[in-house]
């Protein structure tokens, strides 16, 4: 196998059908390129054909009342500046996009690329997980819908086949009294995450927790849900002590590694702190405070 990134051909399909045909034709040796901010840093030497999907009409945000539908080629800049994400549970989308990388990278990086790169520290997967997002995946053979929890298969591994494209994220309308929050810990404000965490809480009208979702990134080979911690919160009236207990449980559910950015112990400890913060913030927002 070649040692360097030297693709022999470049295609810029204008339609989804064209793109899918190219992917079907070249199989494993082809690779879609969206923003390129992951692919052109990694430069995988096995790629022979680059399928530039940036011209496909997949940069959109629509709300049909039941579902929020976000095209996979939406950039973090589009998400951060969308007027649809100024309030309510969707605020978490704009907030996490705000914390993403630096201004230039935001103009290029797409949310589809963020999810498909399947890097454990990616910022958007935990957000999509707490929002109960599903990915719409298409190929010449048809379409399938995969939930974010089933999407990741390991470090840089997903359930996507080489002939498939992720075209859209579908987010069900959150119930009333729902609040969500995201927090990212990096070495600097623009670095990739050491740990990131997202939460979403839905309250009943009497203030009891109807549903709670917690997701973390960079603490396991794939982004994870902290299901034990979620269970502690459901059907309870959430107070400080319960938030503390749930944060501790969430931290115990992580399986971080040590690397140049930080040690596993630090990541575990910080998971607790981050979960606590996102829970407190989500709770406040769910109460409309």
């Amino acid at each position: 196998m070649r040692k360097f990134f030297r693709p022999r051909e470049y295609f810029k399909p204008e339609t989804l059908e064209e793109a899918l045909n190219l992917l079907a034709k070249y199989g494993e040796s082809a690779r879609p390129i969206a923003g390129g901010t992951d692919l052109l840093v990694k430069k995988p030497p096995e790629v022979e054909y680059l399928i530039d999907i940036a011209s496909l009409p997949l940069d959109y945000i629509k709300n049909d009342g039941e579902y929020l539908k976000i095209g996979s080629l939406s950039t973090f800049h589009s998400i951060e500046t969308s007027s649809l994400f100024k309030e309510g549970a969707y605020r978490i989308l704009a907030e996490s996009a705000h914390d993403f990388g630096q201004a230039t990278v935001k103009n290029m990086a797409t949310i589809g690329g963020n999810v498909c790169s399947a890097v454990p520290s990616a910022d958007f997967p935990p957000v999509l997980m707490v929002l109960d997002a599903k990915a719409k995946i298409v190929s010449l053979a048809g379409e399938r819908i995969v939930s974010m929890e089933e999407f990741f298969a390991g470090v840089r591994k997903t359930v996507l086949r080489s002939d498939e494209l992720l075209v859209e994220f579908q987010i069900p309308k959150p119930p009333p009294h729902t609040g969500a929050a995201f927090y990212k810990l990096g070495r600097t404000s623009v670095d990739i995450a050491l740990v990131n965490a997202a939460a979403r809480i839905t309250l009943r009208s009497d203030g009891v927790c109807e549903d709670a979702r917690i997701a973390l990134g960079a603490v396991a080979p794939t982004p994870i849900r902290a299901k034990g911690a979620e269970k502690l919160l459901r059907k309870k009236e959430i107070d400080e002590a319960l938030v503390e207990e749930a944060s501790q449980t969430a931290s115990e559910e992580t399986k971080p590694i040590s690397d140049v950015r930080s040690s596993a112990e630090y990541r575990k400890e910080m998971s607790k702190v981050l979960v606590k913060r996102v829970l407190q913030k989500s709770l406040k927002r769910a109460k409309g405070e």
């Binding site: 030297r6 470049y10 390129g36 901010t37 680059l50 800049h77 630096q102 230039t104």
Partner: protein, 157 residues
């Protein structure tokens, strides 16, 4: 063979599929204002404008740029008349070694093109992708705010 629109001029260039826009600007077109710092998206020295938005030319395929309008630092001055941002950077001592300057100025230009009255926070946000090892950012930020003021008062562009 691709056609690139750089600073309003059309160039026909033969490119390899994996060549970046930065490589083509520097090596094929001789436009060396955009710099190669890290080559991996971290430093912003390679920043250029594509359809008005600051992007990193080290992480953009040259072929991707076909059909788009590219502006590099070389495209800012009109003859011998510098852009107000360039003037303000010089006047405020916002340039030391200069390696980051073309990227900084282009990020700032994109900001001022959509908002001529930015806050300091907005300027810092806009320059967040442009690392500078020399100035400590205080003077570049001041220069951008000053250029904005001059442009609000009708200084050219």
């Amino acid at each position: 063979m691709i056609k690139l629109n750089v600073n309003g001029e059309i160039h026909e260039v033969r490119v390899k599929p994996y060549w970046t826009l930065l490589r083509v600007l520097r090596n094929e077109l001789g436009l060396t204002g955009a710099k190669l710092g890290c080559g991996r998206g971290e430093c912003g020295a390679c920043t250029v404008l594509m359809d008005g938005k600051p992007i990193l030319s080290c992480l953009t395929l040259a072929a991707r740029a076909e059909g788009k309008k590219i502006v590099t630092i070389e495209g800012l001055a009109e003859g011998l008349k510098l852009h107000p941002l360039q003037e303000a950077f010089i006047k405020n001592g916002a340039i030391q070694c200069g390696f980051c300057t073309s990227g900084m100025i282009l990020s700032a230009k994109a900001l001022l093109d959509r908002n001529l009255n930015p806050t300091e926070e907005e300027v810092r946000e806009a320059l967040s992708g442009n690392l500078c090892r020399c100035t400590g950012y205080v003077k570049p930020v001041k220069a951008v705010l000053e250029a904005a003021e001059i442009m609000r008062k009708g200084g050219s562009r």
